[in-house]
């Protein structure tokens, strides 16, 4: 790999990966770096997986603007990159007569933002979602909302970028900027990383939770800070609980509230709560948090029982404190999408929390426009291919398609993950994909293996065996997410070296 590029993108979450993919259309040498061992390992990896309609963002904010624009881009994006996306609409559900008037406020806000919304009766909501709280008095339906698979979307975007010539370096952490003149610190010419120095004319800060630290290294927006806001979630067993829709409670001042939602992978999701913390690595689930989300979920679906739970996880929202300039009201949690004037060579993104997933394609598009307006000559490559072909997903096929696939490649006939019916064929394909999946968690993100009710108890030994075989490694070297998270410590009958 060369060490000189036109553009370096820091962070391979959904924003960084889509930015790389959009920029890969042009005749540019691009490097995408990620400090973790896989893409979508930060904020993108743990959220509600929703594509928001945008009725509730503060009008005039970048959040509102990129939400609406981003929402409209997901159909084409999911068609080209071939990942699961379902525009099935979202609901805000009023429980009891006292919550019903709140729907009118949201309805009006939606209309002001140009987002289609419709208020439906309690009876209609109960018809559409039979398990909903019988005291439901009405709901606000937003038909442009939807659900997606953020792991698949990010992986597909990054793979498409790589297929179109972007260099991806995992386990490569940003340390500092390199300046044309270290004393003046005006012109960025590259970055120092844990894997060496890389040079470029432009650096895009898509560092998510760490975006504040990156921009401070450039001397930009010293007052901007990211405060991680942790959200805890439960995943429920689709064999026990059928949820057809995206169900929000009536929001509070600080949060969209604890939702219950259908997902593209089938197992319903409940959460998140919102807890400000100071450690950007802290994805603990806590007794208090779990109690809180359970209470919230039961408000919408009172018949849930704890026996329905198959998984528990937490994600972090990279909440920032950037003031909104275009808002009529005082609002200090807007996105940052800018080329700062005090330095040259930086495209600065920050505070990309909800609706960041929805907005990500619009943010990526805006990065392209910012570069163009800064005089960057963007020449479309004739070889650019926007299509990232999806790999077969056994459980989503019809019986006839399954039979054909198994006949063509018997490895698709061997089920490794019993709960989610993930086959050896899918695992091997993920290991040998354009971005090779070399850890258990990387395979999980690509196949949904181990996310079901046994939580990997049956598949883990077999996945280790397959990874070791395909990578020519010893099973002792196979890890969950990177070095330091190996599953096994030694062979039996061997003396332990203290």
């Amino acid at each position: 790999m060369p060490s000189e590029y036109d553009i370096i993108i820091i962070g391979a979450g959904i924003v960084g990966s889509l930015t790389a993919r959009f920029l890969s259309r042009y005749d540019l040498d691009i490097l995408l770096i990620e400090k973790e061992s896989d893409v979508c390992a930060g904020a993108t990896g743990g959220n509600s997986a929703l594509i928001h309609g945008g009725y509730d963002a503060v009008p005039g904010s970048l959040k509102a603007e990129t939400n609406v624009r981003g929402n409209a881009m997901w159909d084409q994006l999911s068609a080209e990159l071939q990942f699961p996306f379902d525009r099935r609409g979202t609901y805000v559900v009023a429980i009891g007569e006292e919550e019903f008037p709140r729907l009118a406020e949201l309805h009006q806000r939606g209309e002001e933002s140009g987002v289609p919304v419709e208020t439906i009766s309690g009876a209609e909501m109960r018809r559409r979602e039979p398990r909903i709280n019988p005291e439901t008095s009405g709901a606000l339906y937003c038909p442009s909302g939807g659900i997606c698979d953020p792991w698949a979307a990010t992986i597909a975007a990054a793979e498409n970028a790589v297929q179109n010539g972007v260099a991806l370096r995992l386990q490569t952490q940003f340390r500092d900027f390199i300046w044309a003149d270290e004393t003046k610190r005006e012109q960025i010419v590259g970055i120092q990383t844990t894997q060496g120095d890389f040079y470029a004319r432009w650096v895009v800060n898509a560092a998510g939770l760490y975006a504040d630290e990156v921009m401070h290294r450039a001397g930009v927006r010293p007052e901007f800070t990211i405060t991680p806001r942790r959200g805890e979630y439960y995943v429920l067993d689709r064999a026990d609980v059928e949820i057809n829709n995206v169900l929000f409670p009536v929001p509070t001042e600080i949060s969209k509230g604890i939702l219950v939602t259908a997902t593209t992978h089938g197992n319903p999701l409940v959460g998140p709560n919102a807890q400000e913390i100071d450690d950007k690595r802290n994805v603990d689930v806590t007794p208090a948090g779990m109690a809180e989300i359970w209470q919230g979920a039961q408000k919408l679906i009172p018949s849930l029982t704890r026996r329905n739970i198959v998984a528990v996880f937490a994600g972090l929202r990279p909440g920032g404190n950037a003031p909104c300039l275009g808002c009529d009201v005082e609002y200090n949690k807007d996105f940052i999408i800018e080329i700062p004037t005090e330095v040259h060579g930086l495209v600065n993104l920050g505070g990309i929390e909800s609706p960041g997933l929805t907005a990500a394609p619009a943010i990526a598009e805006r990065v392209v426009e910012l570069l163009r307006s800064a005089g960057e000559e963007l020449t479309v490559k004739s070889t650019w291919n926007p299509i990232r072909p999806a790999r077969p997903v056994f459980r989503h096929l019809s019986p006839q398609e399954q039979a054909t696939l198994v006949a063509a490649d018997p490895r698709y006939g061997r089920v490794i993950c019993r709960c989610e019916n993930v086959t050896e064929g899918e695992i091997v394909a993920a290991i040998h994909a354009p971005i090779p999946a070399v850890t258990y968690d990387a395979i999980k993100r690509r196949t949904w293996l181990g996310t079901g009710r046994c939580l990997g108890a049956f598949d883990t030994p077999r996945v280790i065996e397959i990874l070791a075989r395909e990578l020519g490694k010893d099973p002792l070297e196979i890890s969950k997410k990177n070095g330091g998270s190996e599953f096994l410590t030694r062979k039996t009958k061997e003396v332990r070296h203290a």
Binding site: P399, Q402, N421, L455, A457, T489, K491, T492
Partner: protein
């Protein structure tokens, strides 16, 4: 060359653990010609193959066998009887009219019709999510059964310093096994005030190796982002709340979970089989037929057993009835009169859920039950219909971890036939 599979079978057994093997053998012996076992793993035997410790077979063989030897006895019988087997094959779907869709790397995609099906998928282990353990999700948190597979079958150690949560049998057996392999088991924790596994396993696996067991204790937090670094434990009160000040930090690289087993009934649900929320297994008759005519269930898929011998016995009953059904010898549920069983004093559940009095003209019916809490004194197991005592049995004690049995015999036929219900209670002898 594999023998060409037929597309129709009299009895198809799903799973080849002790329940499935016994069901297939009994079905064949009861006259079913075409019997097929479908097994998802590479070999017959189910989870017994990784249970290399002894303790199997005392009831049936009067011998203390390791798991694989116990299984081999029945595998030999399966082969001797010419029962067909399909290994490395996963059943994807079962319909109410007993069509089976399955797939395997060697067997390809399959579509079979069975006259009768015996569900014998066994059970799976409860996970950290189901008990909602706080903390991040590093490597080093495993179920005891997964660790058992690594150590006993694949020859790898999943860690060096262990905390084991739950005093289930697999957890205690793994505590000893890890000790044999040079690992250190720092602690076994049980949230309940009493043991959840068999007492003999406590004596032979923990006491004999000086492994400390702490009752009324649980994991308060897992620590470590990449790999487990330590486990914070705490004592709990009677409502399972942590007692402030009782916390202790135990350096460890592995947390093993032995916190209960859940019958695996996802396929059963797909076939429309009704489940009992208490056992998490199908509602069954004394012949182990479910509410779906022609679909039977045997072993841990019905409710979790603590002795394999009893799983085998249940499999034999289910297999015989499945063969009879396949040969049209039995009437369907609904046409026959059934008497429901019920849980009385101190009883958590009773299996089977319905008893056909006519069965008593052919065979003994064994009612199996678990108590709600330990009764550490001589007890009577009683079967009542209202005020009428039908049968009773004396036991030295009753513990939730040890299943109880009480037989109904031919002599009880008249009483059972007249009964409105069979209410089973366990009361101190007094």
């Amino acid at each position: 060359m594999r023998k060409q599979l037929k597309s129709n079978y009299e009895v198809v057994v799903i799973g080849s653990g002790p329940g499935g093997l016994a069901a297939a053998i009994a079905a064949k012996k009861a006259g079913a010609d075409d019997v097929l076992i479908i097994e998802r793993d590479l070999e017959l035997g189910g989870i017994l193959l990784q249970c290399i410790h002894n303790g199997f077979g005392m009831e049936i063989f009067g011998e203390d066998l390791p798991g694989p030897s116990y299984a081999q006895h029945y595998i030999n019988a399966v082969q001797a009887l010419g029962i067909e087997t399909l290994l490395d094959t996963m059943v994807l779907d079962i319909t109410r009219d007993r069509r089976i869709y399955a797939t395997g790397a060697r067997s390809g995609y399959l579509d079979l019709q069975a006259a009768a099906i015996v569900l014998a998928m066994g059970c799976r282990e409860r996970t950290r999510a189901q008990i909602q353990l706080p903390g991040p999700r590093p490597a080093g948190v495993y179920t005891a059964g997964t660790a058992q597979r690594w150590v006993n079958v694949e020859g790898y150690m999943p860690g060096e310093r262990f905390v084991i949560l739950g005093s289930g049998d697999i957890g205690m057996i793994m505590a000893r096994r890890i000790t044999f392999e040079g690992g250190k088991v720092e602690r076994v924790l049980e949230i309940l005030p009493y043991l959840s596994g068999l007492n003999r396993n406590y004596v032979q696996c923990l006491q004999d190796f000086d492994i400390p067991l702490q009752l009324r204790h649980t994991v308060k937090r897992i620590i470590g982002n990449d790999r487990v670094e330590a486990i914070e434990i705490a004592q709990v009160d009677e409502h399972w709340n942590y007692i402030a000040g009782s916390e202790e930090l135990i350096p460890a690289d592995t947390l093993l979970l032995s916190v209960g087993l859940i019958p695996e009934n996802e396929l059963s649900k797909q076939a429309g089989v009704q489940l009992d929320p208490l056992t998490a297994g199908p509602i069954v008759t004394d012949g182990f037929q479910t509410n779906v005519p022609g679909i039977f269930a045997a072993g841990n898929v019905v409710h979790v057993y603590d002795l394999v011998d009893w799983v085998t016995k249940a499999g034999l009953v289910a297999g015989r009835h499945a063969a009879q059904y396949a040969q049209q010898l039995t009437h369907q549920v609904g046409e026959r009169k059934y008497v429901p069983t019920a849980s009385g004093k101190n009883v958590r559940y009773v299996v089977p859920h319905q008893v056909a009095p006519e069965s008593l003209t052919e065979d003994t019916i064994t009612l199996q039950l678990r108590v709600t809490h330990p009764l550490e004194e001589p007890v009577r197991v009683l079967v009542h219909d209202g005020e009428n005592l039908i049968t009773r049995k004396l036991k030295r004690y009753a513990r939730p971890g040890e299943m109880l049995e009480i037989p109904l015999r031919g002599r009880d036929y008249d009483a059972v036939r007249k009964a409105q219900e069979l209410r089973v209670s366990v009361v101190p002898k007094g």
